[in-house]
């Protein structure tokens, strides 16, 4: 047995194992957001009319534009991995910077959406919110909590991708060892997938 363990001692680099570790973390993320989607399902089932009315205050245009922005940022991360695999280091870094820029665009649009809601006092606890019927309160509670938690993930993703871009520049992450770029890409795609579900469930109740 001890021979089998030490056999691979000289080479600790195991990209599949490292990616699997990242996937284990992503499973906890899926279950975190999954739980919130379950809460959403119960609330919406109990309050279909108030959810419909509250959803009408969200801008479908803003939601759609943000969906396109995030999908495009997912593409640029995927292209960045392809570029590094092909040895195009500079292109890989540039694609990561475009991704961070797109994440910034997403957050700016989200900021203006929140600002409009703040203007009408719809944040939980404000005057406009207190006057709402219970079902609509539940909608806005979930809307701010879920999109807020998602926005925090976007911010973390921006920082992560920035660090990765720095390490590619330094050469620590390079065309022969790029598993950390892949892992950051996986994280970014999960953030995108969460939004893929948030968008129709909050904006598109027509």
């Amino acid at each position: 047995m001890s021979n089998a363990v030490t056999e691979n001692h000289h080479n600790h680099y195991d990209p599949t194992g490292i990616r699997f570790g990242m996937w284990l973390f992503l499973f906890t993320e899926i279950l975190l957001f999954g739980t919130l989607f379950i809460v959403y399902a119960v609330y919406r089932f109990a309050n279909s009319e108030p959810f419909h009315d509250a959803s009408a205050t969200l801008s479908i245009l803003h939601g759609t534009v943000n969906t396109v922005v995030l999908l495009t940022s997912s593409l640029t991360v995927a292209l960045s991995i392809t570029a590094l695999q092909k040895g195009q280091v500079k292109r890989s870094i540039n694609l990561l910077l475009i991704t961070i820029l797109l994440a910034g665009v997403f957050l700016v649009i989200k900021f203006f959406e929140y600002k409009a809601k703040y203007h009408y006092g719809l944040f939980p606890g404000m005057e406009g919110y207190i006057e709402l019927p219970t079902g609509q309160k539940q909608f806005f509670n979930l809307y701010f909590f879920m999109t807020g938690l998602h926005a925090i993930h976007v911010i973390i993703g921006m920082i992560l991708l920035g660090i990765i871009a720095w390490y590619i520049r330094k050469g620590t992450i390079n065309p022969t060892r790029y598993v950390y770029l892949e892992n950051s890409g996986l994280y970014w795609h999960i953030v995108d997938v969460v939004w893929i579900f948030l968008f129709p469930l909050f904006y598109l109740i027509i």
Binding site: T16, F45, S74, A78, K86, Y178, H189
Partner: protein
């Protein structure tokens, strides 16, 4: 015991013979995702009654499949990871079914 050792060796793939998704394939997946986004917005304006949520979730699941299989490389990844992803999805669906089988048939007290 011998079988265990054999599969361990097969699963060990070095970094340099992995599948590289071409720029073109990634871009095609992105175009599919944009088309599905247009579909999900258009469909929302039709009055589908009870099917509205189901259709929205179906399109979202199709988009998730595209992102998972291509952008997240699950199609070319070690099978064990795909199996685990499937198991996590199954756990989520089971929790939903168990919850609603309780919630829908609960008597008012």
């Amino acid at each position: 015991m011998n079988n265990v050792h054999d599969t361990n060796h097969q699963n060990h793939t070095p970094d340099n013979d992995v599948h590289i998704t071409s720029f073109k394939d990634n871009t095609l997946v992105w175009i599919d995702l944009l088309i599905l986004t247009v579909i999900t917005v258009k469909i929302a304006f039709f009055d589908l009654q009870n099917l509205t949520v189901a259709v929205a979730l179906l399109v979202a699941s199709a988009k998730t499949y595209l992102v998972g299989a291509h952008f997240m490389h699950l199609k070319f990844e070690s099978r064990i990871i795909s199996i685990f992803v499937g198991l996590v999805a199954l756990v989520f669906v089971l929790v939903m079914i168990i919850l609603f089988s309780d919630y829908l048939f609960r008597q008012e007290i």
